[in-house]
Amino acid sequence: MKLPLNRGPLLQGLAIIAFFTFVVLVLIPAYVPRPAFIPGFAPPPDMWPRTVSIIGAVIGLITVVGALFGRGVPTEQITTDGASSKIHFLRFLAVLLCFAGFLILVPLIGFLLSAVVLIGVAIFLAGERKHWVWAAGITLVGPFLLVSFFHSVLGTQFPVGALTKSLGF
């Protein structure tokens, strides 16, 4: 008998089983230490994460069984600009680089300047070309306004950069 295989949900289910099994077999033994003494009859710290992971793996298994019998999940249509999957992937990579770049830049040039760079790049990547005056205004003035707001209202001290320390930000 040929089963009406539904590959998307099947892979999804397998990935879910693999993840929760990894948590139960590898992460919990390594990263959920049991204390030498537990007062009274209290359940140990690994009881809850283990229970949740086993339930997660069982649900993954049900998804796989469902997929094997052709029961998929209706997917929602994503509206795009018609670019290829490769372009979409490159754009996603750009987002990851943008976020990672922000976290790397903060110790070097401080929170304020890193935010200026991040917002500028984000507006550019979002495809904003029409309202460039607004885009420039938001990029250059927005972070400064927010720093002064949070500093004056909450007294927040935003991290200063190693390279820009002498300039005060």
Binding site: A42, S53, I59, F92, E128, K130
Partner: protein, 493 residues
């Protein structure tokens, strides 16, 4: 009693008190609307100012900030899919789709009407039902908490979108992530770095999961309508729309009152509970999550309904139910008032003044909401290509200001990427979030209940309250399975 009330009314209705309450409400709405800024933050910041004020106005200022911030959380949830507070997470599920359809004003109006109604009912309950609700709250122990939270978790079934299984997987991931950090007995779980020993805060996870995927979607897919501003559209809620949601508003307010009166539960669980109940019982249940006004009504009436009710255990028993009422307890003590049963004997005049002031603050909340709504709803006019990066900026600064920690900022960005991944895999984000917020409460109370009973699981069905919730859970599971079977038949047809 009437004389006391009239005297209190006269004492409260001075322009100074009204101004203080109005400032508190306005400040609260603005704070709540800024992603990353919370009601707790506003109340804590305002505490030093109360040292120089008379007892009742100082408490009223803090209560006004609390109420205002709870409503304010819905503003950013509706307009930019960034819940200002965790209790507004369900509001974002229906509010943001409505804003995208050009009905931001309508969604904001419904949020306001429901919040004010919930708040008013909550205040009346505080005045008339404080004693019985406080007694009920005292009967709720770990087994009851556990069953109650488990029932609230059943909301997951309603917000799972197209697939219940994927919703359950999302919830399991949320429950698992909530276990990161120090547990009840001091064990550090999944603490891969030192920063993770304290666990993951709700704000970066919540905001990262809801707000940032919108930016990533915009950048990656660049939908054609990205640089076109949404129209404000029809602003008002019609009488028919309000009446259609009235049942959900009244039920949500009642849920908020009962759950708010129980220490430790708070407005978030009340909002999830109410949203799930409204979805199950509404004839428009299928539209929930796609832009249903009744969803906003259910969520907002419950979270504001819980606000006044959190004062019940504080005033009647001297027990603060959450961080905000903990700060208020401090304010009471600073002013020489000791909350608890004796307060009603020794300071009855102040208690009546507080009650009257809280009722007045409901009216002020309506006024402040109406005045700020037009201003806020113009956010919809901003093209997505500018608005979404601005949201990112607000999130970064807001999250850093909460804990002054770059770790939280990193969590925010990572959760944004996780949220985008979940979107691609068709896994709904709302169950993840609900489970992440309720998870620690569920686990803590389960472990406490098992510890008390020396490991006997029968303790979970040891009282009438636990039985009631057990029956409700079975009922909800039955309903969900039935609905899934019906859905499956429709798909096949």
């Amino acid at each position: 009693m009437l004389n006391e009330i009239l005297f209190a009314l006269e004492a409260v209705a001075t322009w100074q008190n009204l101004l203080i309450m109005a400032a508190g409400i306005w400040g609260g709405v603005i704070v709540g609307a800024i992603p990353g800024m919370t009601g707790t933050m506003a109340v804590t910041l305002a505490l030093p100012f109360t040292f120089y004020m008379a007892p009742v106005p100082s408490i009223l200022l803090l209560v006004a900030l609390y109420k205002g911030s709870t409503y304010g959380g819905s503003v950013s949830a509706i307009l930019i899919k960034t819940p200002g507070t965790a209790s507004a997470a369900c509001t974002a599920l229906d509010g943001y789709p409505l804003a995208q359809q050009g009905k931001a004003g309508k969604a904001l109006n419904m949020a306001l009407y429901s919040s004010v109604t919930g708040d008013f009912i909550s205040n009346l309950s505080l005045i008339f039902l404080a004693a019985p609700l406080a007694v009920l709250a005292l009967r709720v122990g770990p087994p009851e908490y556990f069953m109650l939270m488990l029932f609230a978790l059943s909301t997951v079934a309603g917000v799972s979108g197209n697939s219940l299984l994927l919703g359950l997987i999302s919830a399991a991931l949320g429950l698992l992530l909530a276990t990161v950090g120090e547990d009840l007995y001091g064990s550090f779980r999944f603490a891969f770095t030192d920063n993770m020993q304290a666990g993951l805060s709700v704000a970066p996870v919540l905001i990262g999961l809801f707000a940032l995927p919108e930016l990533i979607k915009l950048i990656v897919f660049r939908a054609a309508s990205r640089d076109i501003a949404a129209k404000l559209g029809d602003q008002s809620v019609t009488r028919a729309e309000f009446m259609g949601s009235l049942k959900s508003i009244l039920r949500g307010s009642s849920i908020g009152v009962v759950l708010g009166a129980i220490p430790g539960i708070g407005p978030s669980a009340a909002a999830f509970f109410s949203y799930g109940e409204a979805q199950r019982s509404s004839k428009n249940g299928e539209n929930f999550g796609k832009g249903e006004l009744e969803g906003i009504a259910a969520s907002e009436s419950a979270n504001n309904g819980a606000c006044g009710a959190t004062m019940i255990p504080l005033l009647a028993l001297g027990v603060p139910g959450d961080v905000i009422t903990g700060v208020m307890l401090g304010a009471f003590m600073i002013q020489g008032l000791t909350p608890g049963p004796l307060l009603f004997q020794t300071n009855i005049h102040e208690v009546y003044m507080l009650f009257i002031g809280m009722l007045m603050s409901s009216v002020l909340l309506f006024g402040a909401g109406k005045m700020t709504m037009r201003m806020f709803s113009y956010v919809s006019h901003i093209p997505q290509t500018l608005l979404t990066p601005v949201v990112l900026l607000l999130c970064l600064f807001g999250i850093y200001s909460i804990s002054s920690s770059m770790f939280d900022v990193a969590i925010l960005l990572i959760m944004g990427v996780v949220g985008f991944g979940m979107f691609l895999m068709n896994i709904p984000a709302a169950p993840f979030l609900i489970a992440f917020i309720l998870g620690p409460m569920i686990e803590e109370n389960l472990r406490r209940a098992l510890a008390i009973s020396r490991g006997d699981p029968a303790v979970l069905l040891s009282s009438p309250i636990t039985w009631i919730f057990a029956v409700l859970i079975v009922f909800v599971i039955g309903l969900t399975v039935r609905r899934e079977i019906q859905k499956s038949k429709i798909r096949k047809a």
